[in-house]
Symmetry: C2
Subunit: 350 residues, 2 copies
DNA sequence: GCTGGCACTCCCGTCGAACGAGTGCCAACC
DNA sequence: GGTTGGCACTCGTTCGACGGGAGTGCCAGC
């Protein structure tokens, strides 16, 4: 499991290299290392260690006679074994609380979370809306807009609201009320994933009993169910928003080549989805470093994500940040995880 | 009114300079001009004209022995007098229609519009959500979530849906229905700007008549009205979304200095609001060039905006694009105006 | 196994020369 | 008077040479 060749001091050297490189953005040499960290040995010794670290693929030399730069593998080891998530300062904590507490609805929570994350980490923030499929139905509302048109509003327990206008045959207000009541009785409280089955059931049982005056036409019910289904299925493609792109411009002057593809990638929902990846509990951070990302456009960036949800256990969506591989991992990880936890608590209250 | 010193040929020269510079992004010299446009005179003549144009402030020479570059004033003249909005190609038109026709709800319309504009103009697109204040109430829905909690949903005729959860005293389902009906009767169809007055009226008339069993408590009504008011007032700060930032990266390699402030500006709602400025009819384009923008961060960009709304006359919001001053004005203006018109038509149908 | 010394590599900034695009001006031309 | 060709001039850009400096690898000694 362990690479036996890396004894304690060598790991310290790697950690020091990562820290210095992240701080200065410049290749770090042996002399600078011993000056800034008290490693208790001479530069020459460090050089030997560095040669070994390079041989093992943890660091890399842009050219002879330059300092060393961590490789993706080096960052990986750093993240896995050489550091811990850095807890936020009291001030940062307070900032999160006061900023998110002011949110008035789900949209607002998401928007604020993006801004908060971007500001806290000084990187690009990515937040997924609570997934429709993973949440449950809180209420379905039918609103008669005109004689033959009704608006269908779906409200989930995460506060998400989706609406759609449906053209149906003529329908009485009383029939509408009756339908609303029955529909809600059938599906409220269910997870969205279960709704399709329930709806089918609902539509099937429909024409069975007779009391025609007070009842909507079967065709209308069918139309409604169809649209409701469509909403759930179509919206399964989740909405994701991002912000803080200005922070991209702070990174290296190795510019257009690296920033352009990233911006392009961010604008594609599909890419964002892949970026956030599979669900993980709020306490579990996923860190994907450089080429660990499947997307070519993002091979020089790292992505730190985690799940969030109502409380600690039910995960409804993901959030995280994206930055250059040379990012402050401990700080970023601390911020992401703290924000995720607090957003979860906010959702719980709502 | 006219600058008499600028005869026909000089204007042609200016137009040619703008066109070439936009195409090549490089200062354009006299020789290149006569080669690419058949002006019928020699380079020497053009040089004289250019000297004059420079004297008048329409063009500018980065340094002796470089070609000329249009100034903001030059672009202004170009936009005002030397060009017409370029109509879209048939293919572009079709693209707009098919892309926007697929939108399922307001969110979708806006998102799609942003992407469409960004793609069409290859610049940054900015779209404002239909303003709440300028639209009218289509329906208010009250949904009982629990014994003491109701969800208030406001639906406007532009398809916008806002919802908020309100904590009220215990309230019966029948009382809720009664309140819903009365509230809708009072405010449906009114413009949002008028709603505050109507609500005050509504709340005042409230306790007057008695039929207590079936009626919600006055305190509950007050709470509801307060929240409704808040929604309207708070949401008066309009939502604006943008996209296509990747296109920023295509512009000059005079980079970080120019792209960073722009990205920063875009992330501030306040700035975006200023950017879109006051309402204009869909047929009227606003073009703000370089320093004509009030914002320091945007003095090297141009902004092309227009209003859009249900049909041609009622403007509900603005949309437009932002790019470098060296943009293809005729093409951009054509795209912006075509998209605005079509979005208006979509809203009309919805 | 650590250390100091030393030769070596290679990046980077500076300098100067050659180059070339583009100009402004002027005298000549129509 | 407007237009033109010619010409000297300016100035940014490119290229190669050069020196300084940071950093390394290696080796001999402790």
């Amino acid at each position: 499991m362990d690479e036996p060749k890396l004894d304690r001091r060598r790991l310290d050297v790697l950690r020091a290299i990562v820290e210095d490189y992240v701080a200065t953005q410049e290749p770090v040499g042996s002399k600078a290392l011993v000056e800034r960290h008290n490693l208790g040995v001479s530069p020459a010794t460090i050089r030997n260690d560095m040669a070994l670290l390079e041989e093992e693929g943890y660091i890399h030399q842009p050219h002879t006679s330059a300092g060393r730069v961590p490789t993706d593998k080096g960052y990986r080891l750093f993240v896995d074994r050489l550091t811990n998530v850095k807890p936020l300062t009291q001030a940062e904590r307070r900032a999160i609380h006061s900023f998110l507490d002011e949110a008035v609805d789900l949209d607002d929570v998401v928007t604020r979370t993006v801004r908060l994350l971007a500001q806290l980490t000084r990187q690009v923030a990515v937040v997924q809306y609570p997934s429709l499929t993973r949440s449950a139905v809180r209420h379905v509302e039918l609103v008669g807009l005109a004689a033959t048109r009704i608006m269908l509003v779906l409200i989930t327990d995460t506060g998400r609201v989706e609406q759609r206008v449906v053209e149906v045959g003529p329908i009485e207000e009383t029939a509408l009320a009756e339908l609303r009541a029955r529909l809600n009785a059938q599906i409220v409280g269910s997870r969205l994933a279960e709704v399709p089955a329930l709806l089918e059931d609902f539509a099937r049982r429909q024409p069975a009993d007779g009391q025609p005056a007070n009842r909507p036409a079967p065709s209308a019910v069918d139309a409604l169910c169809a649209v409701l289904l469509e909403m759930i299925v179509e919206q399964r493609e989740e909405r994701i928003v991002f912000g803080g792109t200005a922070n991209l411009a702070r990174f290296g002057h190795d510019f257009p080549d690296t920033i352009h593809p990233v911006l392009e990638a961010l604008e594609e929902q599909v890419v964002l989805l892949k970026l956030l990846g599979e669900a993980t509990a709020p306490s579990l951070l996923t860190v994907r470093i450089g080429r660990e990302n499947e997307l070519d456009q993002l091979t020089s960036t790292s992505v730190v994500t985690t799940g969030y949800g109502r409380g600690e256990d039910t995960v409804v969506a993901q959030l995280g940040v994206l930055g250059p591989t040379r990012m402050d991992y401990p700080g970023t990880m601390g911020a992401v995880s703290a924000v995720a936890r607090y957003v979860g608590r906010i959702l719980e209250q709502a």
